[in-house]
């Protein structure tokens, strides 16, 4: 079953606006990571938040983690056209050995 799921599936905003994407997961985790992917190529790591952290910042990115609700959010402030990409959350899990689970992603379009 799908462990990580992003919401919304697609998001279209104007340059300068903020973009918020949400991620939910189903099992206990050690950490949660967010990645960006441009045009179906390799993924770029954005930020890692550990299970004992509640909020983390990196530049224009803000990530929150609520382990009681098994959810995370990624906020991109003052968006730019270059932020147009697919964004994925991923969690490391320890069911029957190690596993790394991605959600289906949010496709963000930032319009100039």
């Amino acid at each position: 079953s799908q462990q990580g799921e992003e919401d919304p599936q697609a998001l279209s905003i104007q340059e300068g606006e903020n973009a918020t994407m949400n991620c939910s997961y189903k099992t206990s985790i050690n950490n949660l990571q967010w990645y960006r992917q441009n045009s179906g190529r390799g993924l770029v790591h954005l930020i890692l938040i550990r299970s004992n952290e509640r909020e983390k910042h990196s530049g224009r990115l803000r990530v929150t983690l609520d382990t009681s609700k098994k959810s995370s959010s990624l906020l991109i402030t003052a968006s730019r056209a270059a932020d147009t990409a697919s964004y994925f959350c991923a969690t490391d899990q320890h069911n029957y050995g190690q596993n790394f689970v991605f959600g289906p992603g949010t496709r963000l379009s930032v319009l100039p």
Partner: protein, 113 residues
């Protein structure tokens, strides 16, 4: 430092054939993991190797196998290719395994006809 490299970049095969994909991790990284990404979906975990030992396996059939070499590079092998194996295959390396940041290569796009 060079990032994660993968070869080939593109590949076309026919059903029933075998394919080998290669990955070189970032220097100093001992963990390599493999993912399959079908168009429009998130990557699906296939394998993880750390110090040449398999540490994790996703829900993929036995047609999929992998190994890691003493220099920490890795190969992913897929036998008896099916049309549904057409996808982007991504490799990632890490210093600390799946609990740490995964650094991804550009991927190998496989098309099975």
């Amino acid at each position: 430092d060079a990032g994660v490299t993968q070869s080939p970049t593109h590949l076309i095969k026919t059903r029933g054939q075998h394919v080998t994909l290669r990955c070189s991790p970032i220097s100093g990284h001992k963990s390599v993991s493999w993912y399959q990404q079908v168009l429009g979906q998130g990557p699906q975990f296939i394998f993880q190797y750390y110090e040449k030992e398999e540490r994790g396996r996703g829900n993929f059939p036995d047609r999929f196998s992998a190994r890691q070499f003493p220099n920490y590079s890795s190969e992913l092998n897929v036998n008896a290719l099916l049309l549904g194996d057409s996808a982007l295959y991504l490799c990632a390396s890490s210093q600390t395994g799946l609990a740490g940041t995964q650094y991804f290569g550009p991927g190998t796009r496989l098309l099975v006809l």
